[in-house]
Amino acid sequence: MSSHLTVDPIVCDGHGICAELLPEHITLDDWGFPIINPAAIPGHRLADARRAVKHCPVLALRLRQATSPPDGVAK
């Protein structure tokens, strides 16, 4: 079991707070929208990841438990 961040691209407004809180896992594209590293969040960064999820003003960021990295759209 590992934890991965995903973003709902429809809900996301590009506030960019997540990238400030977790820069090694989230970078911003040229338009200010987050690009999420699909790799698992290491245990010692989980608290920061939860903080990023909590501080997203539109609740677009999620932390998911997965046995393998999530596929599809929310990478």
Partner: protein, 417 residues
């Protein structure tokens, strides 16, 4: 109705097999029944037959139909089946031709699919504003005297055919994509099977003639026939029914192709292939996959040497931006910038940094939408920049002398209301 859709389809034949299968039909009920017999009752073996026939979706994604049916059938509760004939890809005419020539085959498939998943709602979707297609479908529905199948017409824009957006339209929404999976939560919030109309027509044939017959033509991985639309620099554009595995060059010869400079496979969601690759290509996924290509929705567009490819790229990039639903940031803003920069490449005094910038943005945008629209734009542009690299260089040096021809159609999407 586009010019290609009104043309009589030219049919290729394979030795030892009777073609066409789909387009030999009707259009009226009497001719349909005379050729195929009445609609067979849905037997318990039909799902197995679909699996054995190896039927894959013909809307572009080529997903295994039996698996999709099973997902909906086992989801529980009341279900819905949607026949997707909302063909918004500007180059494609195969669904319009099928619905005009053989509407009863599609309606048979819709009825069978509804039985397979236990659906109590059947909806046939077509783009509005196309009187030939709508007339044929309405006639067919009244001939059958059914109250079972509903006709639903969609706004004329690419995303109306995207399955989430289509479900949203049916549910009374504006037709924007969502992250929900229709087979879990679709029409009326119920598990919904959304199948392309050509897929359903094949299903109706498999129900009558069985998987062994279905596999008499085609390849092991891609059995049966498929509808393709050939467009661009050809003297006989139109919809063709071909056996999978057919040589691309033979098909192009049938369509009266010029000596191609490049071919776009799969429509605007597809990829460009340079002339050097064409002689090896066959119309089946194994052959195309080796070159990083796929048949997608079956569009094959030919570009000749006298047409400015950068001008075509710029118009299609602009079309993609105009078709964005404006929901996801990377799509809304990324496609806008791809369109501006590609257009600037074709204008006077282009910036030598533009090709590099386009590739960087393409990598940045890929896979980041709720639907595949941005991915389509990216695949089109990336392969175009590769295949037409020489011409791009000519533009940068200020010297492309090819004609700007508007070869690829880019209709404006109906506005979101």
């Amino acid at each position: 109705m586009t010019a290609t859709a009104t043309r009589a389809p030219v049919i290729t034949t394979t030795p030892g097999a009777t073609l066409p299968r789909l387009l030999a039909d009707g259009p009226d009920l009497r001719a349909h029944v005379a050729r195929h017999g009445p609609l067979p009752p849905t037997s318990s073996g039909l799902l197995m037959s679909l699996e054995q026939a190896g039927l894959k979706g013909r809307g572009g994604a080529a997903f295994c139909t039996a698996r999709k049916v099973t997902s909906v059938a086992t989801a529980g509760g009341e279900t819905v089946v949607v026949a997707n004939g909302s063909e918004g890809e500007p180059l494609s005419a195969k669904d319009k031709v099928l619905l005009t020539k053989a509407p009863h085959l599609v309606l048979d498939g819709l009825a069978l699919a509804a039985d397979l998943v236990g659906a109590d709602r059947r909806i046939l979707c077509i783009e509005r504003g196309n009187p030939v297609v709508e007339g044929a479908v309405r006639r067919a529905l009244s001939e059958r005297g059914e109250s079972g199948a509903e006709l639903f017409t969609t706004p004329r824009r690419y995303l109306s055919g995207q399955e989430n957006a289509l479900v949203d339209l049916i549910n009374g929404g504006r037709g924007k994509p969502a992250l929900d999976r229709p087979f879990v939560r679709g029409v009326d919030g119920r598990p919904t099977l959304v199948d392309n109309v050509e897929t359903l027509a094949h299903l109706a044939l498999i129900a009558r003639y069985g998987p062994r017959w279905y596999r008499e033509v085609g390849t092991a991985e891609d059995p049966g026939t498929t509808l393709v639309t050939v467009a661009g620099s050809v003297s006989r554009p139109g919809v063709f029914e071909v056996a999978h595995g057919w040589h691309l060059e033979e098909l192009l010869a049938h369509a009266g192709s010029c000596k191609p400079r490049a071919v776009l496979l799969g429509g605007y969601y597809g990829r460009w292939a340079g002339a050097g690759k064409l002689s090896e290509l066959r119309l089946d996924s194994a052959s195309l996959r080796r070159e990083g290509l796929s048949l997608g929705c079956g569009v094959i567009a030919v570009l000749d040497d006298a047409t400015c490819a950068v001008a075509e790229m710029a118009r299609v990039a602009t079309w993609f931006a105009a078709n964005s639903a404006g929901q996801c940031g990377a799509c809304t803003w990324g496609l806008r910038d791809l369109a501006h920069t590609t257009s600037a490449l074709g204008a006077d005094g282009p910036d030598s940094q533009s090709p590099g910038r386009l590739m960087r943005w393409a990598n940045m945008i890929d896979g980041r939408g709720a639907c595949r629209l941005p991915d389509g734009a990216v695949a089109f542009l990336r392969t175009a920049l590769e295949v037409f690299a020489d011409e791009v260089q000519e533009h940068l040096e200020g010297g492309c002398s090819r004609a700007r021809r508007h070869l690829l159609p880019t209709p404006a999407p109906e506005p979101w209301v």
